[in-house]
Symmetry: C2
Subunit: 409 residues, 2 copies
């Protein structure tokens, strides 16, 4: 039987979109990877009745209920009082446990403020258990009722992560259920689904199809042997367009294919400002393939670092095919890599013109053919806001590099 979980994040800042929810998302991933089913993720306000309602709604209906946030020392921290109200009990400071927290801060500048927060952060509903927080000073809370284990952790991301690692991870035993991901590049979602209609129809599997810009990801869940066989079939049907085995993302694919073929890569980034490098170096071990980026945001930097000529900039502008190729060639020589990719564009919202509206991005790839340097460039026009334009430019750059690396014998 699959164990179930409900995750509840408490915080006005999450409901207003000022902060992005991440604690429940990351814990959901860990639970999912261990074969659990997450029934819901809910964001509720810093409001006592709303937190009590969430407890009432889910206790007794799930194996695990985890609350994130609302345990700090300030006026907007309401979770401990909501738990006490739900349990119908009072609260008391857990002095012994709070002393243990305090002992980590003895002599430090934080000792006094933390001592002063004892009457809030140390306060625990008497029918529940206080939990040691290894990464901060706000205590966690645990209780069990109607067959549901309820954990409440502070919302500061590294404190939540540390407490989840301490309290929840020991529960996650491995199951025979598993999941695998297959990434397909450049095939429309409906065509991709059609090509593996028989796999999708298999009722023993649970398959999600996740389209995103330039990429369709199949997530296939079920018993191990069935999943393996479905993955094999799916990969065969998309031969040229499937990301390498074990790769769920484009940066992983670039690094795996680069490593397989003994290729190295460098980037010249303008409007993406370092995002391509950040994406690649987000994967551990990326240094085997990725040597570095020249982030040349100004024309001066393009000239000085990459040897882009002033005459070229005067004639074509920085957002142009010739400039992109010159950047790619410049960085190829600078980092002495086998491949390079350059991105130069107008992310917006300002800086566009009729001829080159915001969202116009030029790409170039350069590589060695023996001793001869080769390059080509192309342009894409992206719609949407600055962040979206940048994100899509990164995607196109990585797809381009990956396809060129694959073709390379």
């Amino acid at each position: 039987m699959v164990s179930t979980a409900v995750l509840v994040a408490v915080g006005d800042e999450l409901l207003s979109g000022i902060r992005r929810e991440g604690n429940c998302a990351r814990l959901a991933r860990a639970l999912h990877d261990a074969g659990w089913r997450v029934l819901r993720v809910e964001i509720v306000p810093d409001d006592l009745p709303c937190i009590v309602e969430a407890l009432t709604r889910w206790v007794g209906k799930t194996d695990l209920l985890v609350l994130s946030g609302g345990l700090g020392p300030t006026h907007d921290d309401k979770t401990r009082y909501a738990i006490a109200e739900y349990l119908g009990c009072g609260l008391a400071v857990d002095d012994a446990l709070y002393e243990r927290e305090l002992s980590r801060y003895r002599g430090a500048s934080l000792e006094k403020p933390i001592e002063r927060s004892r009457s809030t952060q140390g306060l625990i509903p008497v029918d529940s258990l206080g939990l040691y927080n290894p990464a901060g000073s706000a205590l966690g809370i645990y209780f069990e009722r109607l067959g549901t284990k309820v954990w409440s952790f502070p919302g500061v991301p590294f404190e939540f992560a540390a407490m989840a690692a301490q309290e929840i991870f020991p529960l996650l035993s491995k199951t025979t259920r598993t999941w695998r991901s297959v990434g397909i590049v450049g095939v429309p979602e409906s065509l991709a689904a059609q090509r593996v209609a028989d796999v999708i129809a298999d009722e023993r599997l649970r398959i999600s199809i996740l389209p995103s810009f330039g990429l369709v990801e199949f997530v296939i869940r079920g018993e191990q042997a069935l999943v393996e066989s479905a993955v094999r079939v799916t990969r065969e049907r998309f031969k040229d367009d499937v990301l390498p085995e074990g790769c769920a993302t484009l940066p992983e694919a670039v690094l795996v294919t680069g490593r397989e073929k003994g290729l190295t890569l460098s980037c010249a980034e303008s409007c993406t400002g370092g995002l391509v490098g950040a994406a690649l170096t987000g994967v551990p071990g990326s240094s085997a393939v990725f040597m570095g980026s020249a982030v040349t945001y100004s024309d001066e930097a393009k000239k000085k670092l990459l040897g882009v000529k002033q005459a070229l900039l005067d004639e074509h502008g920085a957002v142009s095919g010739p400039c992109a190729e010159s950047m790619a060639r410049g960085v190829l020589a600078l980092y002495e890599t086998s491949f390079s990719v350059a991105i130069t564009g107008i992310a917006g919202p300002d800086g566009g013109s009729t001829e080159k509206p915001a969202g116009t991005v030029w790409f170039a790839v350069a590589w060695w053919n023996g001793d001869e340097m080769k390059s080509y460039s192309f342009v894409r026009r992206f719609e949407g806001e600055r962040d979206l334009v940048r994100e899509r430019a990164v995607r196109v750059a990585l797809i381009t590099v990956w396809r060129r690396m694959r073709e390379r014998l």
Copy 2:
């Protein structure tokens, strides 16, 4: 009266943490900025009864209910059937509307697959209204019941954004309620709250206190005049540690302070792989201050681009104060900026040693004192996983740069 909204994201991939919810978070921000109150954000699975339950739970209890996802052409797209079940009606293809979608793809490679998806993507519950999708081919759905306006948009982020802009944004009239954010650097949360206890106690304001690594953010909501006065008081109490007016983030603070003082900045990034540059260039207009980064992930690149000496690397290693200072000085000269910051460390999980465990990161700042180049370096040890170490290193680099820039007369 404040208008209310509930946002529901549909998708197994969100519940499993394979994808991070963003549509509802972004819409929540837009609603919040327009003075609305978002009551809940909920993530529900690709499961018909669960979607019906969410409709039943919220229709009649909020002014606006927006669903994201589940409108595509594949088997896991269930939202249109859930709406039909909730409304107790059948479904029919909206041919006229679908033709309008199709006309955008005439002659393109996508025309055929989209034509074939007519019987799914074009299907609309007969008691509701089909909505034109300006960014994709899956139709949106609208209905109103029990005083709640219900919108259902496709979950692909740019399609959701385009449909929200088309359907929801016209509803968001400006109100006299507003919110402002004040960022405080390097003051513990409880101390910060204590210093403005009187402001927090004002019941006409709604204040959230958001601690994150090195930064505490106060979000102050209420009637405009009250908010302005609370912001003024708060800023005065934190004189030296408050981010510049109008800045909610460190990149904004660095760019605003740099622009005010006529300073320029460059970065040399190793373990952060481009994240500092990406953070800075995420702010429009950043090119006035930020000239670029040298992302030197390999020793070779550090030597070649930044002039780090082999002897220095042999003696101290790449993760060391001398290497960080040499990188900062190298990039200061390379980009000819008034300031530079360098980051070199071990993000982990591999690559650490007893002496330099994973999470060890060296920072250096370099600047000009007349014609003389100055620099200093310091080390921090971060706990946590690769992404967290990188994120904190970016935070420390930006705080350091901002503080140095502020001190500069």
